[in-house]
Amino acid sequence: MEIVIEGITKKFKEQSVLEQISFVMEEGSIHCLLGASGAGKTTLLRIITGALKADSGSVRIDNIPMPNRPILNKIGFMPQQDGLYNELSVYDNLRFFAGIQNLHGKEFDKKALELLEIVDLLKDKNKRVSHCSGGMKKRISLAAALIHSPQLLILDEPTVGIDPVLRRQIWNYLKDLKKQGKTLVVTTHVMDEVQNCDYAALLQNGHILVKDSVENLVQMANGGNIEELFFTNNSEEGKN
């Protein structure tokens, strides 16, 4: 699914959170929204999904203007807070999120077991979420976002609190999803994770400082890491 964002502006009270954000996210690729806390990443994600109204500008997914409810069952969303019910078991959480996407019965069981194996939680499927670690909750949350096989996956800081080994596993899985033609939008404030993406946009104070393919960004950083590029642009912005 292709996402076209045009001139998105959003203010909370009088404070500007996003200013004239425009870019295109191509189908079948991983897009990274990079920025410090409060840069506007989550707000932009919420506007893309239609969970939040922009003050001006538009978002189109596969040329369909958002918000649009019928398209929502093609979108998988993983919120920053895990978005899980602590009193329910891992499996019952998946059952609920599948249920609201009209996935039931054997079809659900098959998909849930497949996902639990991928996120390495098959043996913990009957464990109550309140008894799970932070890393486990992230993995359950990811599985919940994927339960209805969405074409577009929107992940808000999906790897926070996950150990390096598992983080690599999750990124490998996300890359597999990309190979299946799915579009992924991921926010992060961890520079290293940008290398796993195809495109990256650096957000600061509601503005896009840089946006390009990760390949080009690495070149722009003169072979150094992207973190340097971020600081370079950041200081230039400060001078301006």
């Binding site: 969970a51 929502l72 978005g83 899980l84």
Partner: protein, 333 residues
């Protein structure tokens, strides 16, 4: 919508503390009130003048009765000085019972008198201080049942919905094909089922364990409680919008719950000065508690309390619609 209802019921099954808050806490408080305001085993003392022996014997079955030779000139002063609960006299015009005030102790004396005069003898009760309150759990049960049902369901559903926002599970629901009406309806029915269970247990406990008097239909009382609870769910979820966290939901208690207690029937509405009593119509608990009173105390049928039932239905519908509007404000889709 069914997924939400089933999920709520599964959640509560696994959450013992919340289940206890919803079911055991109201029962516990009701029991506590029963012991605080109910039959204490106290045997009132009265002095009797000119009362036939047969009457004295009947009264003595439940009271400590002392026969006196002289009619006190000032019965109320006599009662206070002799530290007794009342004076009963008999003459050609009938029986007169002198009491200081109407309270739980003097209610026992009245009960004994009513048993004594079953034969149709004229009797008259004189109070030094007239009050309209019986001060018995029996006479206020409708207040406690209504207020407790509303309070616990309001807090429970409000705190849960704040959790839906803060944990971003609501975001997930909003980003599903579920309509906002389905989300709110699912919530209302899910918690409505729980509150239905709560209401049934409370009413049955009040009737069959605490033996509170129910002049009217128990089923009608349960229906009123369920309607009141639905209203409490809608009220709780709506107000959760204004709470950033679960603790802030608790801060609504002095604003939302406490004023409703004043208009529940605890204070007679027509005695509230400056026309403030008219505010009762804006409080759902007023409708619930007064409907319960009419059924429990006066034995009215469901048709007789249709005004209160319609009031509760209107409140629930308006709050339900307000919830949908509020949810639409949150999400663009």
């Amino acid at each position: 919508m069914t997924a939400i209802i089933v999920r709520i019921l599964r959640q509560i099954r696994n959450d013992f503390r919340s289940l206890a808050l919803l079911i055991i806490a109201p029962i516990f408080i009701l029991t506590l009130l029963y012991f605080l305001l109910g039959d204490s085993g106290y045997i009132p003392k009265i002095d009797a003048y000119g009362l036939p022996d047969a009457y004295v014997n009947t009264l003595s079955e439940s009271l400590t009765v002392t026969s006196i030779d002289q009619l006190p000139a000032e019965p109320y002063t006599y009662i206070t000085e002799h530290k007794i609960d009342g004076v009963i006299t008999a003459d050609t015009s009938g029986i007169t019972l002198y009491l200081i005030e109407n309270n739980s102790k003097t209610a026992l004396v009245q009960k004994a008198l009513s048993q004594m005069v079953k034969g149709g003898v004229e009797s008259n009760i004189m109070y030094q201080y007239e009050t309209s309150s019986d001060n018995q759990l029996d006479s206020l049960a409708y207040v406690f049942l209504g207020v407790l049902a509303f309070f616990f369901v309001f807090i429970f559903s409000g705190v849960s919905f704040v959790g839906e926002r803060s944990q971003q599970t609501l975001d997930r629901m909003l980003l599903s094909p579920l309509s906002k009406t389905s989300i709110i309806l699912g919530y209302l029915i899910g918690y409505g089922i729980l509150s239905g269970v709560q209401s049934t247990i409370m009413i049955l406990f009040a009737k069959y364990v605490l033996h509170l008097s129910f002049s009217g239909s128990v089923l009608t009382c349960i229906l009123i409680m369920v309607l009141l609870s639905f209203c409490a769910v809608a009220c709780g979820t709506l107000l959760s919008i204004f709470a950033q966290n679960q603790f802030q939901m608790i801060q609504f208690i002095p604003i939302i719950i406490v004023p409703q207690i004043f208009f529940s029937g605890l204070i007679p509405i027509d005695t509230i000065p400056y026309g403030i009593g008219r505010l009762c119509y804006i409080f759902p608990v007023y409708y619930g508690c007064h409907a319960l009173k009419d059924v429990m105390v006066y034995g009215y049928s469901i048709m007789d309390i249709s005004f209160y039932i319609i009031g509760l239905v209107i409140f629930t519908t308006v709050l339900f619609a307000a919830n949908i509007v509020a949810l639409k404000q949150e999400g663009a889709s």
